[in-house]
Subunit: 107 residues, 6 copies
Amino acid sequence: MPHSEALTPAQRAIGDFAPKLVSLTDDVLFGDVWERTELSKRDRSLITVAALITNGSTEQLQYHLARAKENGLTEAELKEVIIHLAFYAGWPRAMSAITVAKDVFGA
Amino acid sequence: MPHSEALTPAQRAIGDFAPKLVSLTDDVLFGDVWERTELSKRDRSLITVAALITNGSTEQLQYHLARAKENGLTEAELKEVIIHLAFYAGWPRAMSAITVAKDVFGA
Amino acid sequence: MPHSEALTPAQRAIGDFAPKLVSLTDDVLFGDVWERTELSKRDRSLITVAALITNGSTEQLQYHLARAKENGLTEAELKEVIIHLAFYAGWPRAMSAITVAKDVFGA
Amino acid sequence: MPHSEALTPAQRAIGDFAPKLVSLTDDVLFGDVWERTELSKRDRSLITVAALITNGSTEQLQYHLARAKENGLTEAELKEVIIHLAFYAGWPRAMSAITVAKDVFGA
Amino acid sequence: MPHSEALTPAQRAIGDFAPKLVSLTDDVLFGDVWERTELSKRDRSLITVAALITNGSTEQLQYHLARAKENGLTEAELKEVIIHLAFYAGWPRAMSAITVAKDVFGA
Amino acid sequence: MPHSEALTPAQRAIGDFAPKLVSLTDDVLFGDVWERTELSKRDRSLITVAALITNGSTEQLQYHLARAKENGLTEAELKEVIIHLAFYAGWPRAMSAITVAKDVFGA
């Protein structure tokens, strides 16, 4: 396995525990799907964050909120995503997302 | 109640059956939240569609895919949303969404 | 199997296909749990309907909305359950429930 | 923002981070919907708790179990809600709810 | 696109509408993951069916119940999966699955 | 209540807090359903783990991964269940399951 600074997020999270899931994540999900130009990375972050909030996947939300900022979404936009999804995913999902976002955004 | 051509989607779907839900939908959700400029209508459609696919809410997806096109999303972008969410919401949700999208897009 | 008029809902829905699920439903769920006096039947209908709306289990909602009326809930109360849950389960779940309720209540 | 003792739960949980979500929660959800007389506050707590258990929203369950007691539900009734929902939301949701309830009820 | 008799299930369901989803399904999901020997095809059908029942993905359940039989699971085993999951995914999911299974098994 | 070493998992987790849920778990779920021979205990563990991963019930996953090993599933098989379900329950559910599995398997 390469030096730590060269590790992908999947390698850090999964490592030698399930190498096939690492390669599916790195080669197919991030290396292929995320790189397709049919949607911008900003838009992909937008729908990924929306899916995680809707699913209550707060553990993955932390990573993807940070990634969303790298992909060009502002904190104001991401907060508005949570407000909007309070209606479409329900208040409890929005409240859980707020807790994570406050932590990620250092609020 | 106003003439049929003036009815909002909520008035058509809910009507006199639950007037409070009509006014919450028309005044708060569409009249207030959707109109906020913190996110464009295109982005709001993007996350709404993502939430519906993730939740398996295929009944609402039909309306919101059409609305998404009115809000500036192309069919190619919306198909790519489904492909992307196959990974984040799971294959079954993507397959159900494909069925609805084929119907809405006349494919 | 007894005469049709004597069949339980589970016997009608499942029948000889999965007799164990029939007996678990009739003897444990309806015969034991629903009969416990710690909660009234009205309250049990209230939380059952809430669970079905939240889960998007519209197929079971039809039966349980009718049963809820038999257990003393009014149509006005059941509509209000849907309005309340628009916030806690999200708008799409409420809209799907409205469709079923309109059908069951003959609206 | 008012003195701490005057803060609403939404102000405490969300604060300046997303003021629009605070006002939607305080003015629309709690100030309007929860105050409607079509359902008693006790019944609203009952279905809110049922929705949270069904959705696996354990983070919000803590607050709403305490609120449910203020709204007139007994601990015995709330435990029975969990037992009943073991069947309608599945055993895992009930087991997670038991953990929260034991904590809230000081058991 | 090849002759109809040579079409994969994904080609039939998705076709030219989203070719990337077809190739991800045929090459990655079915061509790679399902072919890995770490789990037998019978076991993969077992967990796929369990995931679909738990998620309420009844539309995909029809195809996968038939595939499960091809992969060596008996109807008696598949019924028992539904009975078992009544407890772990909740009664409503089991009841929806029974409806699909009765149809697929010609009961 | 019997000596600690004789306690069932349900007695340890629920105890005197909700005795009816203990007896339903011990007598009906474990004492009756899990003992039925229509599915082996290994297969029951397989679908239980699949249901928990799909539902995001990570709290219960810890116990059931350990039980799955007692019922004859290898760590390699259980890792493969997670990889397979990345596609059917979505990547976020798989990533959460990996975290629990690494902990349970001491990786």
